[in-house]
Every structure is written in C-alpha cells, then in structure tokens.
Assembly symmetry: C2
Homo-oligomer: 329 residues x 2
C-alpha cells in the first residue's frame, strides 16, 4: 500500500464559503471571495477572536450555501495555526456538531479535506465540513513579534493571509469530486530560518508530489493545475528545481496560492502564507474556475511547517509536511 | 445519522507500547507499563525533547511488538498538548511514514484511535499507529507556571502524567477489536478556572456518554467498564451526577484513568491528567486485563479541554470535548 488512498465513491464539495481581509481582497481573491472584510478585526476585540469568528462564519456560510441546516452536518474537521487550535475549537463550540480537531499547520485544508473525503467515502458520515483559516496579526504575534514592535521583515518572509475557507463535502450532490488523497510524510531538510518557510516546506511538497506521480504513473499534464498551498515565490522555485531534478517537470502546470494571492507589493516579499492562504484561494478562485469548466482536474497540495517557537528556541530545524488531494470536475 | 459511527469489519489493536515516568510507575501503571523511566528527562536536554522521545519510543515499540517494520505502517495519527503538537510532529520526523496530526488535547487517544479505525475499516490503509503522550514539566510550564517558580497547586488541580502510549491498529490479526466510535461535540459549561479541568470536562464526557447510550439503546451494564480519560476525582463525581440526572447510572461501571493512575498522595490532589494519562492506562493496564479476559467490553471515553493560555487570558471559558471508542475482546 502506498501513500495514496483512492475514494471510489468520489465524495464531492457541494458548497463552500470564504472570508478574506482588506489586503487580501485587493488581490486575485477579492473578485471571488464570499465575504470581503472592511475591517480585519471583524467587529471583535482581539485578533484571535476575529480569527475564530472568520472560521465560524465560513462554516456557517458553507452550510447555508448548501441549503442545509447545522443539524444536518455530521462532523466538522478543522484546525488552525494558533496554540491548541483555539480558533477551530472555539468556532466548533458555536455548532452542536461532532468535531475533529486536526493540526497540519498550513497543510490543514488538504488534511481536513482528505479526512472528510475518507469518512464520507467509507460511509461513516454523510456530510462533513472541512475548514481552516489564519489571521496575519495573531500569527505574527504568536510566531514572530507583535505588530506593535514594528520589526523589519526580511526579504525571504511571507505575509500570513487573513482569511478562512470552508468546504462542505457530501456523499451526494453536484460539485467538485475528491477522487484521491496522497498523505504526506514529515520531511526536514534542516532549514532553521523561521522567516524562510518556503525553503523549509518545498522539500515536503516535492516529496508528496513525486510520490503521487510515482504511485499513479501519471504525467504532470494529467492535471490542469498542480496547486501548492503557500510556498511563496522562493519556495515555488525550489519546488520546481527539486521535482525537475527527479525527472518531473511541473513548471507549466504549477501555481502556488501564496504566490498568486496578493498583488505584487514590496512588503509581502515572497507572497502569502498561513492556513487561510490555500483555504481561501481553493474555496473562492479555484472553485469558481473549476465550476466554470476552466480547470477540470487539479492536484491540490497544501504544505505545512510544523515548528513552534519552543522548538525553534531549542535549536531545532523545521519539519514540514504536504498532503495532496485530487480534485476533479 | 447520529454521532456514532460503526466499524463493521472491527479493526483490531494488534500491538501496543507504553512508557511512563518515575512517579507514574509508583502507581497501578507501574506493573503493566512496557518502559519504566528511571529519569523523566529520558536522556534529553529539555522536557519537550523528552516528551517527543517518549512518543517516538512508543510508536517504534508498538511496531516492534507487532513484529513489523516501519515501512509496513501506512499512517501515524498522533497529537499532543504542546503548542503546534511539536512532540508528535517531531516524533513523526523519525519515521518515513505518512503522518496525520490531530489535536484534541487529552481526548487525543480516542480521536486518533477512531480515525485509525475508520481509515482501516474503510480499506484506505492496512495498518495505522495511534499515539499520544504528555510530560508533567512541559505541560506545567506551557499551561501554568515553570516548575522553577515553585507555585502552590490548588486542591482542584490534577497532575499531568509523564508518559506516552501507542496502539497499532490493523485490519487483520489478533487483538482488541474497535467496533464503533461516538464522535463528541464541543461542550462549554462556562468554567473559567484553568486549575479545574475535571469540572470543565465532565459535561463533555456526560454529553458523549449519554449520546452513545441513547444511540445504541444499550444499558450501562453492557460494558464491563466505562473508562473516562482524565476527569480526576472531582470531575468523575460530577460526571456521575450529570449522567444520573439524565437517567443513566454509570456508577458501578465507571472508572477514570486520572483517578486510578496514581497512588493517592496529597500533591496530586484530584489525580492524573494529560493526553498521556489515558494513553498509558489504556495501552498498559486496560489492554493487559482485556487480553487476559478480565474485561471483555470497554467504552473508552477520552476527554479534552480545548483551552490555551491566550484564550484564558482573553477571558474565555474552557470548551471541552470527549470522544468514545468501543473496545471488545
């Protein structure tokens, strides 16, 4: 048995919902996002509460967009970047629905989609919501420095996306089909620079993508797009080098959510990151294009850096992971 | 569809492994644990690295006890209490095996067992390791105060177990069968005292247990034991009150891992807690007794408090969750 699991009944994403911050909505996401925030605090008193509210908002939004009620949902699978995934746990408190908390850092959208698809394909639940999100200000103060310090950001850094996305996965209905998932291994290339997530995560993305193509026997052009989560500009370049070295040319088909989410402005440097990055891009822009028939087959590969401030403070390098999900229309 | 999912092919726990600290081995666990530590640092330089090594040790131990090699394992499902579940992520780095990170605080043993059983029962993987652990010293300094401060512990507090446990779940082989899982909802009764986890978690345990018995139509005596994770003495009493009020008398069948893990000494007050508490008790004491035929049917209900220091600092109460797994011999 390899790393790829196949879903013969192809559970489908019958509805989705997204919310994004002011800066995010200036970019490509702005035209496709469901709720565009005019205030990144979302009416809350703290960044963390705003992040939690975004998650709750998109979970509710996906359920409403499917024309369902909360009690018709069998499980919510969610996680986020904050310590003890408080955004997801506190968002789940608003719903009287079974909850499975997951942690895969920025790979959470793919991990939660894969688990939702498995639980539905296996017949254990009928409808599941997979959701994640992130907030620039809560991530900065937890992982780096509080914004109030006004620290200078180095050129290899990325900007955590303020936003959240939810997919409602069901056994039946019209939507994007989830046909397989390739579960990733933890890969650590010894990167210790906590500002260089792209370089840390690219080897994990390469490992999962190479495994996926080796196990399927497909060529890169079997997909309209091979979408990574938030490698950013530098990480994307490293990924293309790493896969090319192993004989897989993904160049023409590859796009990174972090690279496309913002207009190219100097202060984001390598682009976007955060669990919300791929969650928003997948559930707004990519979903719209897939439903319009523009993209018919996507390999969605969300990547996560599994560090904490404690592990970095104790001199550890950054272990990373990437999970891939095949989406078909 | 209710909250309970049934596994018709009954995946089984074909092997397990446990490790526990010096204080823990003075209690009931000491006679059944596989690796009894003589030094809670486990030869490492920090508490966090010791916690990670314990997890890695039991994952490897479970694989070895099953007579398997690492490459025969299809997925490791694990999480822990530390920020960004670094113990699990860094432990998974030692294995070239797909990894799914989960976060359910002290409910992790039940959540990871339920997911492992679903992935195996559905035919997606053949063998999965479900594992979790905790360390008294890393938990104290992350959630409360560093030990060096010598803070006084209040009488409603519990003592985080230093230990880890792993279950190897497989589609075939001899072992304890996992026949169903009842996935819990997030329940918040408004408790804000971070030293009173038992009171915070008891309503979540009651909710899941009442749901389980309502959906199965069983009586409490259908089980030899109804085992909760780490409610402690006070939490267990609250649980029995809450379920009794709703017409379910679990009194004779209920036992709490936190209540039995230590000898009754004054400094632990309500007993043990932590993700490692139920993981160690299940995979050592309970497993041995089940394999010996002493207990034939157990409802294993691990409970988790989904707070963080940030959520508590922002005035939030403590949302909790409990997942139940039916184990049969």
């Amino acid at each position: 048995m390899g790393q790829r699991i196949v879903f013969p009944r192809a559970p489908r994403i019958i509805a989705a919902s997204t919310v994004a911050g002011t800066k995010e909505c200036e970019g490509i996401v702005g035209r496709y996002v469901e709720t565009a925030l005019s205030d990144d605090m979302f009416g809350e008193s703290t960044y963390e509460k705003a992040e939690c509210k975004m998650l709750s908002h998109v979970i509710d939004g996906a359920i409403a967009n499917a024309g369902l009620r909360r009690e018709q949902i069998d499980v919510i699978i969610s996680g986020d970047l904050l310590n003890q995934i408080i955004s997801a746990s506190f968002a789940a408190r608003d719903f009287s629905v079974p909850f499975l908390g997951v942690y895969g850092a920025c790979s959470t959208m793919a991990e939660s989609l894969a688990l939702a698809a498995a639980l539905i394909d296996g017949g254990y639940v009928r409808r599941a919501v997979a959701a994640t999100g992130s907030h620039f200000a809560s991530a900065e103060r937890q992982y780096r420095y509080p914004l109030e310090l006004g620290c200078t950001r180095p050129p290899q850094s990325q900007w955590t996306v303020t936003g959240a996305g939810a997919s409602l996965v069901a056994a039946q209905g019209d939507g994007i089909r989830i046909t397989s998932a390739t579960l990733g291994k933890v890969v650590d290339f010894g990167i210790t620079d906590v500002n260089n997530m792209g370089a840390a995560m690219a080897p994990a993305a390469a490992d999962t993508i190479l495994t996926h193509f080796r196990e399927t026997g497909e060529e890169a052009d079997a997909y309209d797009l091979i979408v990574t989560g938030d490698l950013g500009a530098l990480g994307s370049r490293i990924l293309k080098d790493l896969t090319w070295e192993k004989g897989l040319d993904i160049g023409e088909h590859h796009v990174d959510c972090g690279e496309i989410v913002y207009n190219v402005l100097e202060d984001e440097f390598q682009g976007g990151s955060g669990a919300g990055c791929s969650a928003v891009v997948l559930n707004s822009y990519l979903r719209t294009k897939m439903l319009a028939g523009e993209f018919r087959r996507i390999l969605f590969v969300a990547t996560g850096a599994l560090l904490s401030t404690v592990s970095s403070g104790q001199g550890e390098s950054i272990p990373c992971i990437a999970h891939a999900v095949t989406l078909e229309r």
